[in-house]
Amino acid sequence: MEFEPKILGIACNWCTYTGADLAGTTRLKYPQNLRVVRVMCSSRINPSFIFRAFQLGADGVLVGGCHPGDCHYNTGNLYARRRLAVTKKILDFAGLEPSRFRVEWISASEGNKFAEVVKEFTEHVQILGPQTKFKIAGVS
Protein backbone atom coordinates (compact mmCIF):
# COMPACT_ATOMS: atom_id res chain seq x y z
CA MET A 1 0.00 0.00 0.00
CA GLU A 2 1.19 3.45 -0.78
CA PHE A 3 2.26 5.60 2.12
CA GLU A 4 -0.37 8.20 2.91
CA PRO A 5 1.29 10.92 4.94
CA LYS A 6 -0.50 12.69 7.77
CA ILE A 7 -0.08 16.40 7.36
CA LEU A 8 -1.08 19.01 9.86
CA GLY A 9 -2.02 22.37 8.43
CA ILE A 10 -2.13 25.40 10.68
CA ALA A 11 -3.80 28.21 8.81
CA CYS A 12 -4.42 31.82 9.65
CA ASN A 13 -8.06 32.76 9.79
CA TRP A 14 -7.88 35.74 7.50
CA CYS A 15 -5.84 34.56 4.56
CA THR A 16 -4.87 30.93 4.25
CA TYR A 17 -8.01 29.50 5.83
CA THR A 18 -10.15 31.64 3.56
CA GLY A 19 -7.90 30.65 0.68
CA ALA A 20 -8.57 27.01 1.54
CA ASP A 21 -12.26 27.76 1.53
CA LEU A 22 -11.92 29.29 -1.89
CA ALA A 23 -10.07 26.24 -3.12
CA GLY A 24 -12.99 24.18 -1.86
CA THR A 25 -15.76 26.29 -3.33
CA THR A 26 -14.02 26.46 -6.68
CA ARG A 27 -13.79 22.65 -6.61
CA LEU A 28 -10.02 22.54 -6.90
CA LYS A 29 -8.61 19.10 -6.25
CA TYR A 30 -5.90 18.65 -3.66
CA PRO A 31 -4.79 15.64 -1.57
CA GLN A 32 -6.88 14.79 1.44
CA ASN A 33 -3.86 14.19 3.66
CA LEU A 34 -4.06 17.66 5.13
CA ARG A 35 -5.93 18.29 8.39
CA VAL A 36 -6.31 21.96 9.06
CA VAL A 37 -6.35 23.78 12.35
CA ARG A 38 -7.45 27.39 12.19
CA VAL A 39 -5.69 30.03 14.22
CA MET A 40 -6.37 33.74 14.24
CA CYS A 41 -2.91 34.67 13.06
CA SER A 42 0.26 32.85 12.12
CA SER A 43 1.97 34.58 15.03
CA ARG A 44 -0.36 32.73 17.39
CA ILE A 45 1.46 29.53 16.53
CA ASN A 46 3.53 28.43 19.45
CA PRO A 47 6.61 26.64 18.08
CA SER A 48 5.85 23.87 20.55
CA PHE A 49 2.76 23.11 18.44
CA ILE A 50 5.09 22.03 15.70
CA PHE A 51 7.27 19.86 17.92
CA ARG A 52 4.16 18.34 19.45
CA ALA A 53 2.59 17.67 16.07
CA PHE A 54 5.63 15.69 15.00
CA GLN A 55 5.61 13.84 18.31
CA LEU A 56 1.98 12.92 17.87
CA GLY A 57 2.58 11.42 14.49
CA ALA A 58 2.45 14.17 11.86
CA ASP A 59 4.61 13.40 8.84
CA GLY A 60 4.62 17.02 7.79
CA VAL A 61 3.46 20.36 9.12
CA LEU A 62 2.31 23.17 6.86
CA VAL A 63 1.81 26.65 8.23
CA GLY A 64 -0.11 29.19 6.19
CA GLY A 65 -0.28 32.90 6.83
CA CYS A 66 -0.97 36.19 5.07
CA HIS A 67 1.65 37.61 2.77
CA PRO A 68 4.11 39.84 4.64
CA GLY A 69 2.56 43.29 4.78
CA ASP A 70 -0.98 41.92 4.48
CA CYS A 71 -1.40 40.70 8.05
CA HIS A 72 -4.84 41.41 9.48
CA TYR A 73 -3.05 42.56 12.61
CA ASN A 74 -0.44 44.46 10.59
CA THR A 75 2.72 42.76 11.82
CA GLY A 76 1.78 39.34 13.19
CA ASN A 77 3.21 37.34 10.34
CA LEU A 78 6.45 39.31 10.41
CA TYR A 79 7.06 38.11 13.96
CA ALA A 80 5.95 34.63 12.97
CA ARG A 81 8.43 34.59 10.10
CA ARG A 82 11.37 35.04 12.44
CA ARG A 83 10.02 32.69 15.05
CA LEU A 84 9.24 29.86 12.67
CA ALA A 85 12.53 30.30 10.88
CA VAL A 86 14.23 29.48 14.17
CA THR A 87 11.91 26.50 14.68
CA LYS A 88 12.98 25.19 11.31
CA LYS A 89 16.66 25.50 12.20
CA ILE A 90 16.03 23.69 15.47
CA LEU A 91 14.29 20.83 13.71
CA ASP A 92 17.20 20.65 11.31
CA PHE A 93 19.88 20.55 13.99
CA ALA A 94 17.88 18.03 15.99
CA GLY A 95 18.13 15.77 12.96
CA LEU A 96 14.63 15.95 11.52
CA GLU A 97 14.31 16.72 7.81
CA PRO A 98 13.51 20.45 7.89
CA SER A 99 11.51 20.21 4.70
CA ARG A 100 8.83 18.34 6.63
CA PHE A 101 7.97 21.73 8.02
CA ARG A 102 6.92 24.43 5.59
CA VAL A 103 5.67 27.98 5.94
CA GLU A 104 3.74 29.48 3.03
CA TRP A 105 2.08 32.83 2.54
CA ILE A 106 -1.29 32.27 0.88
CA SER A 107 -3.83 35.04 0.60
CA ALA A 108 -7.61 34.73 0.69
CA SER A 109 -7.79 34.98 -3.09
CA GLU A 110 -5.16 32.36 -3.76
CA GLY A 111 -7.27 29.22 -3.76
CA ASN A 112 -5.13 27.97 -6.60
CA LYS A 113 -1.92 28.46 -4.73
CA PHE A 114 -3.36 26.69 -1.70
CA ALA A 115 -4.24 23.62 -3.75
CA GLU A 116 -0.86 23.73 -5.46
CA VAL A 117 1.08 24.00 -2.22
CA VAL A 118 -0.82 21.19 -0.53
CA LYS A 119 -0.37 18.95 -3.55
CA GLU A 120 3.29 19.65 -3.85
CA PHE A 121 3.98 19.38 -0.10
CA THR A 122 2.08 16.11 0.17
CA GLU A 123 4.07 14.64 -2.68
CA HIS A 124 7.27 15.84 -1.07
CA VAL A 125 6.44 14.26 2.28
CA GLN A 126 5.39 11.11 0.49
CA ILE A 127 8.88 10.86 -0.96
CA LEU A 128 10.46 11.50 2.42
CA GLY A 129 8.46 8.62 3.85
CA PRO A 130 7.00 8.19 7.33
CA GLN A 131 8.33 10.47 10.04
CA THR A 132 9.56 8.23 12.83
CA LYS A 133 12.21 10.26 14.59
CA PHE A 134 10.02 12.45 16.75
CA LYS A 135 7.00 10.21 16.84
CA ILE A 136 6.22 8.81 20.28
CA ALA A 137 6.38 5.04 20.31
CA GLY A 138 2.91 3.54 20.26
CA VAL A 139 1.19 6.51 18.64
CA SER A 140 -0.70 5.42 15.56
Partner: protein
Protein backbone atom coordinates in the same frame (compact mmCIF):
# COMPACT_ATOMS: atom_id res chain seq x y z
CA UNK B 1 45.92 35.45 31.39
CA UNK B 2 43.95 37.20 34.03
CA UNK B 3 45.70 38.10 37.25
CA UNK B 4 43.13 36.54 39.53
CA UNK B 5 44.63 37.73 42.80
CA UNK B 6 44.64 41.28 41.50
CA UNK B 7 41.00 41.04 40.50
CA UNK B 8 40.03 39.55 43.83
CA UNK B 9 41.70 42.49 45.60
CA UNK B 10 39.99 45.05 43.39
CA UNK B 11 36.66 43.28 43.75
CA UNK B 12 36.91 43.36 47.52
CA UNK B 13 37.92 47.00 47.48
CA UNK B 14 35.03 48.04 45.24
CA UNK B 15 32.49 45.91 47.10
CA UNK B 16 33.58 47.37 50.39
CA UNK B 17 33.35 50.90 49.06
CA UNK B 18 29.86 50.35 47.69
CA UNK B 19 28.50 48.60 50.75
CA UNK B 20 30.00 51.09 53.18
CA UNK B 21 28.61 53.99 51.22
CA UNK B 22 25.26 52.23 51.11
CA UNK B 23 25.02 52.78 47.38
CA UNK B 24 23.96 49.16 46.85
CA UNK B 25 21.98 46.69 48.95
CA UNK B 26 23.91 43.69 47.76
CA UNK B 27 27.08 42.84 45.88
CA UNK B 28 26.90 39.64 43.87
CA UNK B 29 30.29 37.97 43.80
CA UNK B 30 31.90 34.66 44.75
CA UNK B 31 32.95 33.03 47.97
CA UNK B 32 34.62 29.76 48.73
CA UNK B 33 32.41 26.67 48.88
CA UNK B 34 33.76 23.51 50.43
CA UNK B 35 37.20 24.80 49.41
CA UNK B 36 38.82 27.34 47.06
CA UNK B 37 38.50 25.03 44.11
CA UNK B 38 34.74 24.91 44.60
CA UNK B 39 33.66 28.53 44.68
CA UNK B 40 30.08 29.52 45.28
CA UNK B 41 28.07 32.54 44.20
CA UNK B 42 27.83 34.91 47.10
CA UNK B 43 25.63 37.85 48.02
CA UNK B 44 27.58 40.29 50.17
CA UNK B 45 25.15 42.46 52.08
CA UNK B 46 27.31 44.00 54.77
CA UNK B 47 30.78 45.50 54.62
CA UNK B 48 31.92 42.63 56.89
CA UNK B 49 30.88 40.08 54.27
CA UNK B 50 33.46 41.45 51.87
CA UNK B 51 36.28 39.52 53.52
CA UNK B 52 34.67 36.29 52.26
CA UNK B 53 34.75 37.34 48.62
CA UNK B 54 37.12 35.42 46.39
CA UNK B 55 37.84 35.26 42.70
CA UNK B 56 39.75 32.55 40.92
CA UNK B 57 39.82 30.57 37.70
CA UNK B 58 36.94 28.32 38.82
CA UNK B 59 34.46 31.17 39.34
CA UNK B 60 32.41 30.30 36.26
CA UNK B 61 28.91 30.78 37.61
CA UNK B 62 26.88 33.39 35.81
CA UNK B 63 25.92 35.88 38.50
CA UNK B 64 23.27 37.52 36.33
CA UNK B 65 21.17 34.51 37.32
CA UNK B 66 20.62 35.97 40.77
CA UNK B 67 19.59 39.49 39.80
CA UNK B 68 15.92 38.66 39.19
CA UNK B 69 15.68 37.21 42.69
CA UNK B 70 15.77 40.65 44.30
CA UNK B 71 12.75 42.92 44.47
CA UNK B 72 12.48 45.41 41.60
CA UNK B 73 14.24 48.62 42.48
CA UNK B 74 16.91 47.01 44.66
CA UNK B 75 20.31 48.52 43.98
CA UNK B 76 22.62 45.68 43.06
CA UNK B 77 26.29 45.54 42.24
CA UNK B 78 27.28 42.53 40.14
CA UNK B 79 30.69 41.18 39.31
CA UNK B 80 30.41 40.52 35.60
CA UNK B 81 32.63 38.54 33.30
CA UNK B 82 32.03 38.76 29.57
CA UNK B 83 29.15 36.28 29.56
CA UNK B 84 27.59 37.69 32.73
CA UNK B 85 27.60 41.17 31.25
CA UNK B 86 25.82 39.97 28.14
CA UNK B 87 23.20 38.28 30.31
CA UNK B 88 22.74 41.54 32.18
CA UNK B 89 22.24 43.32 28.87
CA UNK B 90 19.49 40.88 27.88
CA UNK B 91 17.82 41.27 31.28
CA UNK B 92 17.85 45.04 30.80
CA UNK B 93 16.44 44.68 27.30
CA UNK B 94 13.69 42.48 28.71
CA UNK B 95 12.98 45.05 31.41
CA UNK B 96 13.62 42.64 34.24
CA UNK B 97 16.00 45.17 35.72
CA UNK B 98 16.81 48.82 35.16
CA UNK B 99 20.31 49.89 34.23
CA UNK B 100 20.30 52.63 36.85
CA UNK B 101 19.78 50.08 39.62
CA UNK B 102 22.89 48.17 38.64
CA UNK B 103 26.52 48.76 39.25
CA UNK B 104 28.55 46.46 37.05
CA UNK B 105 31.99 45.50 38.23
CA UNK B 106 33.60 44.26 35.04
CA UNK B 107 36.09 41.43 35.09
CA UNK B 108 38.18 40.70 32.01
CA UNK B 109 38.95 37.00 31.98
CA UNK B 110 40.95 34.49 30.14
CA UNK B 111 42.15 31.18 31.48
CA UNK B 112 38.95 30.09 33.23
CA UNK B 113 38.95 26.42 34.11
CA UNK B 114 36.42 23.64 34.43
CA UNK B 115 36.15 22.67 38.06
CA UNK B 116 35.80 18.96 37.35
CA UNK B 117 38.39 18.47 34.64
CA UNK B 118 40.69 21.48 35.01
CA UNK B 119 40.47 22.11 31.26
CA UNK B 120 40.52 25.72 30.01
CA UNK B 121 37.03 26.64 28.90
CA UNK B 122 37.19 30.22 27.71
CA UNK B 123 35.66 29.46 24.36
CA UNK B 124 32.82 27.53 25.91
CA UNK B 125 31.76 30.10 28.44
CA UNK B 126 32.38 33.54 27.11
CA UNK B 127 31.19 33.31 23.55
CA UNK B 128 34.68 34.14 22.37
CA UNK B 129 34.83 37.35 24.38
CA UNK B 130 37.30 38.22 27.09
CA UNK B 131 36.04 41.62 28.21
CA UNK B 132 32.60 42.50 29.55
CA UNK B 133 30.49 44.32 26.97
CA UNK B 134 29.22 46.79 29.54
CA UNK B 135 30.56 47.80 32.93
CA UNK B 136 30.87 50.71 35.33
CA UNK B 137 34.19 49.81 36.85
CA UNK B 138 36.73 47.51 35.26
CA UNK B 139 38.61 45.50 37.87
CA UNK B 140 41.64 44.80 35.71
CA UNK B 141 43.22 45.56 32.39
CA UNK B 142 41.23 44.80 29.27
CA UNK B 143 42.56 41.67 27.64
CA UNK B 144 43.24 41.62 23.95
CA UNK B 145 44.52 38.28 22.84
CA UNK B 146 44.80 39.43 19.27
CA UNK B 147 42.80 37.15 17.06
CA UNK B 148 39.21 36.87 18.30
CA UNK B 149 38.04 33.26 18.49
CA UNK B 150 34.78 32.35 16.89
CA UNK B 151 32.49 30.77 19.45
CA UNK B 152 30.98 28.65 16.71
CA UNK B 153 33.95 26.61 15.51
CA UNK B 154 33.01 23.71 17.82
CA UNK B 155 29.82 23.32 15.85
CA UNK B 156 31.51 22.35 12.60
CA UNK B 157 31.72 18.65 13.29
CA UNK B 158 28.05 18.46 14.25
CA UNK B 159 26.89 20.51 11.28
CA UNK B 160 28.78 18.16 9.01
CA UNK B 161 27.03 15.08 10.42
CA UNK B 162 24.26 13.63 8.37
CA UNK B 163 20.78 14.10 9.74
CA UNK B 164 20.19 10.58 10.93
CA UNK B 165 23.48 10.51 12.79
CA UNK B 166 22.74 13.87 14.33
CA UNK B 167 19.33 12.72 15.42
CA UNK B 168 20.86 9.60 16.95
CA UNK B 169 23.40 11.76 18.74
CA UNK B 170 20.81 14.06 20.26
CA UNK B 171 18.44 11.25 21.10
CA UNK B 172 21.17 9.51 23.06
CA UNK B 173 22.00 12.76 24.81
CA UNK B 174 18.42 13.69 25.70
CA UNK B 175 17.69 10.15 26.87
CA UNK B 176 20.20 10.71 29.66
CA UNK B 177 18.17 13.60 31.03
CA UNK B 178 16.81 13.03 34.53
CA UNK B 179 14.68 16.18 34.52
CA UNK B 180 16.31 17.79 37.50
CA UNK B 181 15.89 21.09 35.66
CA UNK B 182 19.33 22.29 36.70
CA UNK B 183 19.80 23.65 33.16
CA UNK B 184 16.86 25.99 33.37
CA UNK B 185 17.60 26.97 36.94
CA UNK B 186 21.21 27.78 36.16
CA UNK B 187 20.25 29.76 33.07
CA UNK B 188 20.24 33.52 33.63
CA UNK B 189 17.58 33.88 30.96
CA UNK B 190 15.17 31.25 32.35
CA UNK B 191 13.05 33.14 34.81
CA UNK B 192 9.50 32.20 33.77
CA UNK B 193 7.11 31.21 36.53
CA UNK B 194 5.70 28.80 35.82
CA UNK B 195 7.99 27.30 33.23
CA UNK B 196 6.06 25.86 30.28
CA UNK B 197 7.07 22.35 31.32
CA UNK B 198 5.38 22.77 34.73
CA UNK B 199 2.09 23.86 33.23
CA UNK B 200 -0.75 21.39 33.58
CA UNK B 201 -3.13 23.10 31.20
CA UNK B 202 -2.01 22.62 28.54
CA UNK B 203 0.47 19.94 29.45
CA UNK B 204 3.15 20.35 26.83
CA UNK B 205 5.06 17.22 27.70
CA UNK B 206 5.14 14.39 30.18
CA UNK B 207 6.91 14.98 33.46
CA UNK B 208 8.50 11.55 33.48
CA UNK B 209 12.02 11.30 32.08
CA UNK B 210 11.31 9.51 28.82
CA UNK B 211 12.61 10.24 25.33
CA UNK B 212 9.64 12.16 24.05
CA UNK B 213 9.13 14.36 27.07
CA UNK B 214 12.82 15.13 27.26
CA UNK B 215 12.93 16.02 23.57
CA UNK B 216 9.97 18.35 23.92
CA UNK B 217 11.43 20.00 27.00
CA UNK B 218 14.82 20.64 25.49
CA UNK B 219 13.70 21.67 22.00
CA UNK B 220 11.18 24.12 23.39
CA UNK B 221 13.80 25.50 25.71
CA UNK B 222 16.13 26.03 22.76
CA UNK B 223 13.39 27.88 20.97
CA UNK B 224 12.59 30.00 24.02
CA UNK B 225 16.23 30.99 24.28
CA UNK B 226 16.62 31.84 20.62
CA UNK B 227 18.15 35.28 20.30
CA UNK B 228 18.49 35.45 24.07
CA UNK B 229 21.09 32.81 24.86
CA UNK B 230 24.36 34.56 25.54
CA UNK B 231 26.46 31.43 25.40
CA UNK B 232 27.64 31.29 29.02
CA UNK B 233 27.49 27.50 29.08
CA UNK B 234 25.87 27.39 32.52
CA UNK B 235 23.26 24.83 31.42
CA UNK B 236 25.96 22.40 30.44
CA UNK B 237 28.07 23.01 33.50
CA UNK B 238 25.06 22.48 35.77
CA UNK B 239 23.99 19.25 34.08
CA UNK B 240 24.72 16.26 36.34
CA UNK B 241 24.65 13.85 33.39
CA UNK B 242 26.75 15.97 31.02
CA UNK B 243 24.34 16.68 28.20
CA UNK B 244 26.15 19.13 25.87
CA UNK B 245 23.27 21.58 25.72
CA UNK B 246 25.63 24.41 24.86
CA UNK B 247 26.11 22.96 21.38
CA UNK B 248 22.47 23.33 20.55
CA UNK B 249 22.24 26.77 22.09
CA UNK B 250 25.30 27.86 20.15
CA UNK B 251 23.80 26.57 16.93
CA UNK B 252 20.57 28.49 17.48
CA UNK B 253 22.56 31.58 18.43
CA UNK B 254 24.65 31.21 15.30
CA UNK B 255 21.56 30.86 13.09
CA UNK B 256 19.96 33.88 14.73
CA UNK B 257 23.11 35.89 14.19
CA UNK B 258 23.24 34.89 10.54
CA UNK B 259 19.57 35.49 9.88
CA UNK B 260 19.02 38.63 11.87
CA UNK B 261 22.52 40.10 11.88
CA UNK B 262 22.62 40.57 15.62
CA UNK B 263 24.18 38.65 18.50
CA UNK B 264 22.36 38.50 21.83
CA UNK B 265 23.25 40.82 24.67
CA UNK B 266 25.86 42.99 22.99
CA UNK B 267 24.26 46.43 23.16
CA UNK B 268 21.59 47.67 25.52
CA UNK B 269 19.95 49.72 22.77
CA UNK B 270 19.37 46.62 20.61
CA UNK B 271 15.96 45.02 20.48
CA UNK B 272 15.83 41.27 21.03
CA UNK B 273 15.56 39.58 17.67
CA UNK B 274 12.54 37.50 18.56
CA UNK B 275 10.42 40.45 19.61
CA UNK B 276 11.43 42.42 16.59
CA UNK B 277 11.11 42.14 12.82
CA UNK B 278 12.21 43.82 9.64
CA UNK B 279 9.82 44.22 6.76
CA UNK B 280 12.81 43.44 4.60
CA UNK B 281 13.49 40.10 6.37
CA UNK B 282 13.84 37.64 3.56
CA UNK B 283 11.54 34.67 3.11
CA UNK B 284 14.76 32.79 2.40
CA UNK B 285 15.15 32.25 6.15
CA UNK B 286 12.19 29.91 5.99
CA UNK B 287 13.77 27.68 3.38
Amino acid sequence: MTNFKQIEENLKKEAKKLLEAGSVAVVLAYTKGADEKHPQPFAAKKADDVANIIFNEYCNHNLARYIVRYAPGTKIAVAVKAADSRAVVVLIQEEKIKRENLILLGIPVSGMKNQKTGEIIDEKTTGGLTNPVVYDVLLGEEIHTGKPVSPYTVLEQYEKMDKDARFAFWKAQFDKCIRCYACRKACPMCYCDPCFIDQTKPRWADKSPQSHGNLMYHLTRFQHLAGRCIDCGECTRACPVDIPLYLFHKKVAKDCEEMFKQAAGMKIEDKLVMVDFRVEDSDKILE
